[in-house]
Symmetry: C2
Subunit: 377 residues, 2 copies
């Protein structure tokens, strides 16, 4: 993309932000580094011990407080910004924040902040610099801003899914009894990079075998696969900053009949969830469609999490596909459908796909087989 | 390590925490997921939209508020803990936090929090649950807790350095004019995993060539190397959760004389910084030793950052090797020495090593050549 196209994208996003601020009666938005800042500016920083904050208001270019040594990044922005750099001595930092909030005019304003992103560090400097401002959790305003993806974003997500699928296929050949979870996770991470993933993965692959597969968020460990195990692999790639997040479950050799049974139920639940997804349907209805299949099969109490979560620049973002969420789906919304059944101490099955709402329904971006395949191949 | 050894490690760390709380007159510590929580419990969570908080007090086992679906991780802890799980519906979460803070007895206490880690999300639930508590920034108490590494920790860091060095050596063969920064970064990430790094890197390699090398925190881009470029590579591995962080600078073919000159100055500054490091010396003296070499060579204004930062479970942690930091070095403290000279619009040089303070001096963990090597080899 050339600089003109980039400035156009950021101008569009900036005007969508201005609308969102107006709708939620916010005078300004204060962001620290994270996906929303990247979405609005392209800026990318690690969260470190030095605070970085950008202030967005409807009538001025963004105002950015940042360490002097990040100057080059800020100067490369394809749009104007007003910057307040500070040096290495933390006693200088409050003054930079005071000048920035004064310049941005956020003194006695309603200022939106991101509760899942902003740390007490940045908030402390902001609050000291603008003690009369009213800081408001703005997750709802911001969720809507990023939830509906444009075509470039969807193309990136589609590519992130393809990269993930290619990496898993390349990893299957090493999976057999005696191989450890950690070895499989390392090989899969390597294959993700080889297949073209951005170097910084959104999350480390989950590879959990045997009893560990009954823990949805297990960390890959030293346990070695055994015949009769279920094996859950939950992994994803990142492409131009956009994430994929898939799960497939495998049988190591012959498994007990109930494992095949729960794999069939979860496959049906996954299909039912995806089939329910279309514009106007509430998130909770997609959850219900998947959950009903599992409940009717008698495993309701073993489906211990929501059916899915939004996906985009973050591995988890709005919309959340859970009971009690009335948010209607809109074209461009992207999310996971990932029902599971977890039998404590024995094993679990989860099947996860990535779905994008289209004008007339939904597109599933992932197409790896969903039935319980037996490994080694 | 077996379970008994693990419980001993956590018991030791817990009693060091109790001392630190007493020294800083804190009644409790509230942590969200991050390195300090991992240090004290071994627990590892991504920061997500669901809040996880652990409360530590001198007289009770840790109290943990967590999503139901993380139960298996908590049950696997090698020590007792009292848990307050909650379900998928966010309206349940405040009650879980109220019960946890009541049980922990932190109602009207001084409760330490980590400003660089705790988000407004967790803080919001904590404050609602214990409105009379006085939340205090505890970075100083916690920095001391983790800054002095034990032998197991240092062994992990030594291995993380070896893995990083092996990965860089394996990457050098692809570096030549025409190769892009992004391609080198991808190959280096892949080689890090192949050499045995944990899959989740602490940071994405910085690979910056030509004018980009004048930006200390550049993000690898599409620019292709040209003859006459300086090339800065800043990378690290992770081993058992412990980080290495190294930088070397290369010349692509023949470079102008001033580039060789600044490379020599930075190499001397790096050596001077490392030579100054020993127990009892203040952080600012190590900074001064490195900075003086660069200033005396006439490049002081182009060394635009501090000389280094602590390193361990995080890529950046205490002690900070900067002007104005009187903190004396102690055996077990580990940090980077990474002076640099950055000529805007032209190019930069940085040379970074990892150092651990010993009883009698300091050990440099890294030993790759530091002089300006010419590539392709």
């Amino acid at each position: 993309m050339n600089e003109t196209q980039l400035s156009e994208i950021y101008a569009q996003r900036s005007s969508r932000l201005t609308e969102a601020l107006a709708r939620y009666r916010l005078d300004a938005l204060a962001l620290n580094p994270g996906p929303t800042l990247t979405y609005l500016t392209g800026l990318n920083f690690h969260l470190m011990e030095r605070p970085v904050v950008a202030l967005f208001t409807p009538d001025k270019p963004p105002v950015i407080v940042h360490p002097e040594l990040e100057k080059a990044k800020i100067e490369a922005l394809p749009f104007p910004a007003t910057t307040f750099p500070y040096g290495e001595d933390p006693t200088e930092w409050p003054a930079a924040f005071r000048r920035a909030t004064q310049y941005a005019g956020v003194k006695a304003s309603r200022v939106g902040v991101e509760p899942t992103r902003m740390r007490l560090l940045e908030f402390h400097y902001l609050k000291e610099a603008a003690p009369e401002a009213d800081f408001v959790f703005a997750e709802e305003a911001l969720a809507l801003l990023r939830a509906c993806k444009d075509e470039t974003e969807i193309a990136n997500m589609r590519r992130a899914v393809q990269i993930a699928q290619q990496a898993l296929r390349a990893t299957l050949s090493i999976i057999q009894p005696g191989v450890s979870e950690r070895e499989i996770a390392a090989e899969l991470s390597l294959q993700l990079l080889r297949a073209g993933s951005d170097a910084e993965l959104a999350f480390q692959p989950i590879v959990s075998g045997g009893p560990n597969s009954a823990n949805p968020h297990a960390v890959p460990g030293e346990r070695r696969l055994q015949n009769g195990d279920l094996l859950v692999i939950d992994w994803g790639a990142v492409y131009h900053g956009y994430v994929s997040d898939l799960t497939r479950t495998f049988a190591i050799g012959k498994v007990e009949a109930e494992y095949q049974r729960i794999a069939d139920v979860v496959e049906q639940a996954n299909a039912a969830g995806r089939a329910a997804a279309r514009p106007g349907v509430a998130c909770q209805e997609v959850d219900h469609a998947a959950r009903e299949v599992i409940t009717n099969a008698g495993y309701g109490e073993y489906f211990i999490h929501r059916t899915g979560h939004g996906i985009g620049m973050e591995g988890h973002e709005a919309p959340y596909i859970r009971q009690g969420n009335p948010q209607p789906l809109e074209p461009g919304m992207a999310f996971t459908v990932e029902p599971g059944i977890y039998l404590p101490g024995r094993g679990g099955v989860r099947i996860e796909d990535n779905v994008v709402i289209t004008a007339g329904g939904a597109e599933t971006l992932s197409d790896l087989p969903r039935d319980l395949q037996i490994l080694p191949l």
